[in-house]
Amino acid sequence: MVTKEEVEKLSELARISIKKEESDSFIKDFGAILDYVGELNSLTLPSELSDVKMSLHNVFREDKDPTPSGTWTKKITDAFPEKEGNALVVKQIISHD
């Protein structure tokens, strides 16, 4: 079960606000989903799997042939909500008062 406080904490972490009227249904749904995925607790893993690192490996490519500067600039800056020249306009983060 999750509490209202926990859901509020998660929404803060995820940068998502939940409307007051949605809050109850979110908590209810969450409880049902967590009960369901909680079935995993009844699974005993064979010992050779319990500390398994999935059989994964990293794939790297050589760091070469960079895209010529400016290739994507216009397309990307066109998508900016607000800009000055090629610069993205955002709010001031540190204030002086």
């Binding site: 940068r15 969450f30 995993l40 799997l49 398994v52």
Partner: protein
Amino acid sequence: MIKRNELSIKESARALRSGEITVRELWDACFEEANNRNSELKAYLELFATEDEAIMSAQRRIDKEGDMAPLLCGIPVALKDNILIEGKIASAASKMLGNYIATYDATVTEKLKDAGALFLGRTNMDEFAMGSSTEHSAYGATKNPHDTNRVPGGSSGGSATAVSAHMAIASIGTDTGGSIRQPAAHTGLVGLKPTYGAVSRHGLIAMGSSLDQAGPLTKTVEDAEIIFKTIRGNDPLDSTTLPSDVYKEEEPPEKLRIGVPRDLLDKGVDSDLLNVFNKTLKALVAEGNTIVDVELPSSKFALPAYYVIMPAEVSSNLSRFDGIRYGLASRGKTLLDDYLLSRSEGFGTETRRRILLGTFVLSAGYIDDYYHKAQATRSLLRSEYQKVFKEVDVIAFPTTPSPAFRFGEKSDSVSMYLEDVFTVTANLTGMPALSVPMGSVDRDGSNLPVGMHFTAPHKKESLLFSVGKDVEVVRSVGN
């Protein structure tokens, strides 16, 4: 005579080469049907009206190259709205990306363009591919052409309805937990989720990166094979793609050993649907295939494990949408307000629910109980399947536990999630899987198609195509 838009890829390609029809006529037939029916069915979020240059160029290529031209040359297909086409909107059916214009082609898009395929439009889907009914689209739900009171499945519901209603010759969807196969089953189509890494994910709007694959929704198994062979391949822009030499040209055995995990079908499966499934199995045996009883004891943990891993990856992938650089940009007093407002207004309920769920299973104190346990379950499932594949060539299930449901019928999350109970395992194990129509069941006077689902070992799509074609044969005899 069969209408042009009702042709398969193979039939269209033949007719285009013989000069029986032109690329323009084929395009117009699909486009007209799409235009006429879209307000009713909502398969497309947008139809592309100005493809004249591509149409003419495909015709020139067919005239010049004849049989040497790719089979997809001049074929109008539909792309799911989470696959990037340069210069077109790719919104993932979300308000968050309603104004986002793709700056590049997905590798899938590029490969289809190279083959001369034409794009009719972008198809509706559950927002960010999260859902099993297309009801979670921010732009209205797609309807099932077999019964418009029912869902087409999801999340690739628009791609399914577009082909099923002959508004496209074929389409491309994406599949994270069943999002190609389940809508294919509900609309009477063939749907393939390729082996993880067979098809590049570059330029797909990511949902669950360790699970996502793009694949075809088509009228025939042969068509699915044509598209699969066109879009697969190693891609330097997706490091998870398989090396190009792993697919060997090999003939699948003529008769297949089909594994059936009987104890998983005992409960929760619609009895009419199970009858069609059993009848189809019998017919496959009559064709010389063998049925083998198999056990996959950890299967019941697949869906719970999926609903841990998928939201975890969703919460990470969707953290990039912050209202700052592109997409919906709501503005408040502070920078934090900008994030909160954009993400809260931009994402629908199901998307927000999964982001929070993912944040939860990854948070300190819970990550071992949930995320790490789910990852280990994934390895267990993989080894169980690998063991069974020593005895059988493919494993068969029904694709879905029941036929297409009515709008609003699955209003609580868990009952909607159970739609994917048979399909998610293939995403967790990375194995290829195919849904192929096996017949239909009657519901309230509607004939609703149902699908048979096959899983094969990694890189063995050829076995799926082989058994899928067998099902097509026995189905046509059975009817």
